[in-house]
């Protein structure tokens, strides 16, 4: 089991050489903008140093792994006797505690003394991704239907609000449910042609749906504004109170009515709180749905479609409802996104967004809502934290993703929490 020092040395030298090869394009070459335009510069010492770091690191890690393995071998009983059911109960308890903690933190965050515009802004972004992740989690995590084009619902929600508000003049609170409904309708429509598909084929068709939506938006100039997008989308108001310095016609402003001095922070706080409300509502609804027949049917569909049919569950209805509910949450997120930015354009809805949302679901552990929250925090915050690494922040991001997938291949929270336990039911029946 344990390897000799020579083995480790050999392995680490190979790893170091590989890292140096990879480092040539990633680190060795960089661009500088000069008077003559963009110029590629080279920095070979950096390549050497990164190779050395990887080499030494992999050597030390190999030694540490041997040490740990030896220690584990010394007391094998402990690992063998651990019962999975107790582990499961502990995970349930931990994730419940975490859920309460993070909710309290999220609610109090805007009122903390240290919270500023930057924190509110990043926090709102995290919440949008949590909402998107929860939506995709319904289709991918619960119903087991892969969707690589989830961004389509995000875009449909955003454009629904943008178009309704700029042409008909409807406000955010009217358009929010409408956007959700329109996105849900598209979700149901999309689910029709893919009822018989699974696996790779399903992935390709959903990927196509995402791209079709983006390209239609890009080219339908008269309706969507094409590549120029739609601007002048009204901001959300609080019972008719605007958060702008000069409120639009027909609205009074928040700072005038309440007498609090005007500050743009208030608007950011307000947006944050709307997003938080949406996320909490979505989390509650999905939690309830999971314990209802419709949610159980989704999970059963993920587990075994043939068994579902033999028990009288209509797989068509289950798939359509899963896509509709997932799409609806995507639509809400899109509507909110449009309201927050005040501007939408096709650029915001590329494939990379779909990939990012899917990464959140997979990273969090399919089907786990808390997992989605943690993963969204991770995916949005890591590049922010990584700003200190400047050029290397995407490398740091990539390394972190690989590390998680190596150590937790099933996602951060891969343990499924049962929707009901017989032991917690009152034993009156039967």
């Amino acid at each position: 089991m344990a390897h000799s020092i020579q083995d480790h040395l050999k392995g680490s030298i190979i790893a170091g050489l590989l890292a140096m090869v990879l480092a040539v394009p990633f680190i060795g070459l960089y661009t500088v903008s000069t008077d003559q335009g963009l110029v590629v510069e080279q920095r070979w010492p950096w390549v050497f140093w990164s190779g050395l770091i990887v080499s030494v690191g992999s050597f030390l890690m190999g030694l540490a792994r041997d040490l740990l393995a030896a220690r584990r071998a010394a007391k094998p009983k402990l690992a063998a006797s651990a019962k999975p059911s107790r582990d499961d109960a502990l995970t349930a308890k931990l994730s419940k505690g975490f859920a309460i903690g993070i909710t309290l933190f999220a609610i109090t965050l805007p009122f903390m003394p240290f919270s500023d515009r930057y924190i509110m802004d990043v926090g709102t972004t995290v919440l949008i991704y949590v909402l998107l992740g929860m939506g995709l989690n319904v289709t991918v995590g619960l119903a087991g239907l892969l969707d690589l084009g989830f961004v389509a619902f995000y875009a449909i929600g955003a454009y629904s609000f943008a178009i309704l508000s700029t042409t008909l003049g409807w406000g955010f609170w009217v358009c929010l449910p409408l956007s959700g409904l329109i996105a849900a309708l598209f979700g149901a429509l999309l689910s029709m042609p893919i009822l018989r598909l699974r696996g790779d084929y399903l992935a390709i068709v959903t990927l196509g749906f995402g791209e079709i939506t983006r390209i239609v938006i890009l080219n339908w100039q008269s309706f969507t504004g094409g590549p120029a997008g739609i601007s002048g989308i009204p901001r959300p108001s609080l019972f008719g109170l605007s958060f702008d310095r000069r409120p639009p016609e027909g609205l009074t402003s928040f700072h005038e009515v309440t007498g609090i001095a005007f500050a743009t922070e208030h608007r950011l706080m307000f947006l944050y709180l709307i997003a938080l409300t949406l996320v909490l509502a979505a989390a509650w609804v999905i939690k309830r749905l999971r314990a209802l027949p419709i949610g159980r049917a989704w999970e059963a569909l993920r587990e075994d479609e043939i068994a579902c049919r033999s028990l009288g569950i209509n797989p068509v209805a289950s798939k359509v409802s899963a896509y509709a509910v997932g799409g609806m949450l995507g639509g809400f997120a899109g509507c909110f996104f449009a309201a927050r930015q005040g501007f939408v354009s096709p650029e915001s809805f590329g494939f990379i967004e779909s990939a990012l949302i899917l990464a959140i679901v997979v990273l969090g552990g399919m089907g786990s809502q808390i997992g989605v929250v943690i993963a969204a925090l991770f995916i949005v915050l890591l590049p922010e934290v990584g700003r200190e690494f400047a050029d290397f922040r995407m490398i740091v991001f990539g390394i972190a993703m690989i590390a998680i997938m190596v150590w937790r291949p099933g996602g951060l929270l891969s343990q499924r929490v049962p929707t009901i336990r017989l032991s917690s039911q009152k034993g009156a029946g039967a």
Binding site: R288, G312, P418, G429
Partner: protein
């Protein structure tokens, strides 16, 4: 109504391209009786099951379910998922549980159709109306009844996929019974069970038949079990039914013995093969 058998299958034929898997088979299964369907491997037993439970559309034939007090249903006209809603439920040769859901959840999924109506397609359930809560409690009680009946109490909150093979078989039967069936179709329920478990399974099936008066249709290779619990046995070979009768009749039926043990004189080539060989040699000469 009483003289009509619960299930009557007439002229069931299933063709896959040129292959005739099931050839005009007639079958009946009665309430309060255990009917067995036996035959060598590849005889078409599971194909008959798949036609019966809506997984295949039969090429021709009539599958009639005579429900007590209700009009008869032609099963072959139903969409696959509707068959169990009319009272015919099945288990699978290779167990098909929902592995990452607990035993209790598996049994609740089986009650989906009734619960879905009570939950008003989610709306009543979402806001937790009283009617829904009562329906949910009833469903849990029914699940609990079958969990206790099949001795699954200790594993009710375990994920079904983590259970041993024999226990999974029991969970599958419990799940099927949670749909409130009229006819329970079991596809090789004793496969992979040890003799003790097989004995318990026989007792269980007899108990279910007596207590609930439903019909049981059984595909099984374990002759001890089949002969011990069946009221009536149908034998199929190469897609055709070759015999039908009580266990005693089947045991002494010559065609059945032939189907299972082969021709008594094995040195001689069967007539058709001998002709073939002769023809080829003639052609070469």
């Amino acid at each position: 109504m009483t003289d009509q058998p619960l299930l009557s299958v007439t002229g069931l034929t299933m063709r896959f391209g040129g292959l005739v898997a099931v050839d005009s088979v007639n079958l009946t299964a009665e309430t309060n009786k255990i009917t067995a369907l036996i035959g060598p491997n590849g005889a078409g037993k599971t194909t008959i099951f798949n036609c019966l439970t809506g997984f295949y559309k039969p090429t021709s034939g009539e599958l009639t379910l005579n429900r007590p007090g209700q009009s008869p249903v032609s099963l072959q006209t139903l969409a696959g998922y509707q068959v169990s809603r009319h009272g015919v439920v099945r288990t699978f040769q290779n167990i098909r549980l929902f592995p990452r859901m607990t035993v209790l959840e598996n049994l609740l999924v089986a009650q989906h159709v009734g619960l879905m109506k009570k939950a008003a397609f989610g709306v009543a359930g979402l806001i937790g109306l009283k009617g829904w809560r009562a329906a949910e409690k009833e469903a849990i009680d029914r699940a609990r009844f079958w969990i206790d009946r099949l001795d699954l109490t200790n594993v009710a909150d375990e994920e079904a996929g983590n259970l041993s093979y024999g226990v999974q078989r029991r969970v599958e039967i419990a799940r099927a019974m949670n749909t409130n069936p009229l006819l329970l179709c079991l596809d090789e329920p004793a496969a992979g069970l040890n003799p003790k478990e097989t004995g318990a399974l026989g007792d269980l099936l007899r108990g279910i038949r007596e207590q609930f008066g439903i019909g049981i249709l059984l595909i099984e290779h374990d002759m001890g079990l089949v002969m011990g619990i069946s009221d009536r046995i149908h034998v199929v070979e190469y897609g055709r039914k070759i015999a039908e009768g009580t266990p005693e009749q089947i045991r002494s039926d010559e065609r059945v013995i032939k189907a299972y043990l082969g021709e008594p004189d094995e040195e001689e080539l069967p007539a058709m093969v001998a002709e073939d060989v002769a023809g080829q040699e003639g052609g070469r000469a």
